[in-house]
Structures are given as structure tokens and as C-alpha cells.
């Protein structure tokens, strides 16, 4: 098996750069929320959150260096989550005559 595979040790420098970046992104998302971009508010906030999530996944969770199987596991989970959302969403937006009576 993968007996002799040497564990990758990520240099400290990388960890500290990533945390700096994450804190900056947090500041940006908070700052952006103070300005009203209309419908883009959600998009901007989610985009920044996803960038942050990507850095956590890649470096703190070592996905960048690890077996790609883990990426597949994570991706599959995400994919089926999107399936759950898309089909439920499809139902709610195509219902005809949805009037609340309460």
C-alpha cells in the first residue's frame, strides 16, 4: 500500500499567509455589507465566503496536498446538496396559484 509515502509538512509561512488573507477577506465582506449593492449583496457575500472556504479547505484541511479522493468525497456531498436545493427550488418557483390563505 502507500506505506512509504512521506507526509507533507506545510511550511509555517503558508499557514500565516492564509490566516492573514482570511482576516482581510472577513474585513472586506463586513465592509461590503455596509454598502448596498442591491441584488448583488448576496452574490458578493457568498463569493467572498466561498473564497474563504476554499482557502480553509486547501490549506488548513490540506486538500491541496492530499489524496484527491478526499476532494471527490467533499465534491460529491456538495453536488447532492445542490441537487436537493435545485429540485426543491424548481417545485417552489413553478407552482401555479400559490396563494397563502393564512
Amino acid at each position: 500500500m502507500e506505506d512509504q509515502q512521506h507526509h507533507h509538512i506545510i511550511p509555517l509561512k503558508v499557514y500565516f499567509s492564509v490566516i492573514a488573507l482570511l482576516l482581510v477577506l472577513t474585513a472586506i465582506t463586513v465592509a461590503a455589507a455596509q454598502v448596498n449593492f442591491g441584488p448583488w449583496n448576496t452574490v458578493i457575500a457568498m463569493a467572498i465566503a466561498s473564497i474563504k472556504a476554499g482557502f480553509v479547505l486547501a490549506f488548513f484541511m490540506h486538500l491541496k496536498y492530499d489524496n484527491k479522493l478526499y476532494v471527490a468525497v467533499f465534491g460529491t456531498a456538495l453536488f447532492f446538496l445542490i441537487v436537493l436545493y435545485l429540485f426543491s427550488w424548481l417545485d417552489t418557483v413553478t407552482r401555479i396559484g400559490v396563494n397563502s390563505i393564512l
Partner: protein, 231 residues
């Protein structure tokens, strides 16, 4: 099962009988942890899907609801969790380079961050309870303006304001329960580190608990803008 994965003192770890090697055990444990994280993603994901669907249905209500949250406290908690993620990763790094004391220090900081996070959450929750902003059926705002706002939203067909707090409490509550679980696991890691069980040859529990802790952070990265910022 005398040979089951039973760690002995002084860093010597015997891999379980059904594995070929320690490396084999490490890889399998990590794979198992990732599978577990996949289930966590889908579990939290269900709530996120519910949140987004209702957000599309009642955007005004979610907007008004989010004004009750203090984004400063939310941002503080984001920073706290991000730092705890860093220290968690660092503790693994120092185990890899065999520096027990630095591993311990980082684990303690991670645990401390968890406490700070919970204290801030406690402050936020009690504040909401004080104003009667309970979830769902128990929603009973004391402030007249809030009652007015809730009534206005309902009359306009923008939904029930209590639903915002339902989502807020369910999502942050489930997240907080994960923080508490993670803190329990980190405490367990601290005890084992004190016993010098981890080193460059064996740090699987650090790695697996670390992955869990990062996922908790990851979920908060999304919860923070969804609940506090865009509403």
C-alpha cells in the same frame, strides 16, 4: 481484541491488527473522517437549503430580521474561529516536527477560542431572549416597534418574522452544539498530548479532530454573512 488500536505510552503506537501498517491506518482514518464530514455537510446543508428557499420567498422578512443581529459580535466570532482554525492546524504542524509543548500551547489556544466563541454566543442569545425574540411559536417581542414590524410584514404578505429567528436559533444552535463537541474532542487531544502520545510517527487523532474543527469553522464562514450581513 488484544491488538486493537491501543496506544501505549511514550509515543509508541501500534496500529490495529487489521491494518498493514501505521500509514495504512492513518490513511483509512482520514478517509473515514472525510466521509463523516460529507455527512455533516449534507446535514447542515439541509438547513441551508431551507434557509435559501424561504429567503427567496420572503426577502423583506429576512432583511428586517437581520437588523436585530449585531454584526460586530458576528465578525468577532468569525475572527475567533478563524484563529482557532489556524492554531488547530499549527498544533498538527508542531506534532509533525515533534514539538510537544508548542502542540499543547496551540491546542489550548484553540480550546480557548472555542470558549470565547460560546461566551459571545451566550451574550447574543440572552440579549435576544431579553427582548422576547424567541423562535417560532414562542416569538413574543417586548418592544412595540418590533411588534409593529412583525405585524406589518405579515399584513404585506412578507411572512412571519418569527421564522427568521427560527432559522437563526436552529442554525446557530446546531453549529454551537458542534463547537461544544469539537471542544470536547480537543480536550481529549490535550490529555493525550500531555501523555506524549503524539509525534511525527503518529498524530492521526490530531488530524481527524482538526478536520472536524475546520469544518465547524467552514460552516460559520457561511453562516456569518447569511445571517448577519445580507439577511
Amino acid at each position: 481484541m488484544s491488538t486493537a488500536n491501543h496506544a501505549t505510552a511514550h509515543g509508541g503506537h501500534h496500529h490495529a491488527h487489521h491494518y498493514d501498517s501505521a500509514e495504512h491506518e492513518y490513511n483509512t482514518s482520514k478517509f473515514g473522517t472525510w466521509l463523516f464530514l460529507a455527512t455533516e455537510i449534507l446535514m447542515f446543508g439541509g438547513l441551508f437549503v431551507g434557509y435559501i428557499l424561504f429567503h427567496e420567498k420572503y426577502p423583506e422578512m429576512f432583511h428586517d430580521g437581520s437588523t436585530f443581529l449585531n454584526w460586530r459580535l458576528g465578525a468577532l466570532n468569525t475572527v475567533v474561529l478563524l484563529i482557532s482554525s489556524l492554531t488547530m492546524a499549527l498544533s498538527i504542524y508542531y506534532a509533525q516536527v515533534n514539538k510537544k509543548n508548542l502542540t499543547l500551547l496551540n491546542l489550548y489556544i484553540t480550546l480557548g477560542c472555542g470558549f470565547i466563541f460560546l461566551i459571545v454566543k451566550y451574550i447574543e442569545y440572552t440579549h435576544k431572549f431579553h427582548e422576547g425574540l424567541y423562535p417560532g411559536r414562542w416569538f413574543n417581542p417586548t418592544e412595540p416597534e418590533v411588534q409593529e414590524m412583525a405585524k406589518h410584514l405579515l399584513d404585506q404578505g412578507h411572512g412571519h418574522l418569527n421564522m427568521y429567528f427560527s432559522f437563526y436559533f436552529t442554525m446557530t444552535g446546531l453549529h454551537a452544539s458542534h463547537v461544544i463537541t469539537g471542544m470536547g474532542l480537543i480536550t481529549w487531544l490535550i490529555v493525550r498530548t500531555h501523555r506524549s502520545e503524539f509525534g511525527p510517527q503518529y498524530y492521526t487523532p490530531l488530524e481527524c479532530v482538526g478536520l472536524f474543527w475546520h469544518l465547524v469553522d467552514l460552516i460559520w464562514i457561511y453562516l456569518f454573512p447569511l445571517l448577519y450581513l445580507i439577511g
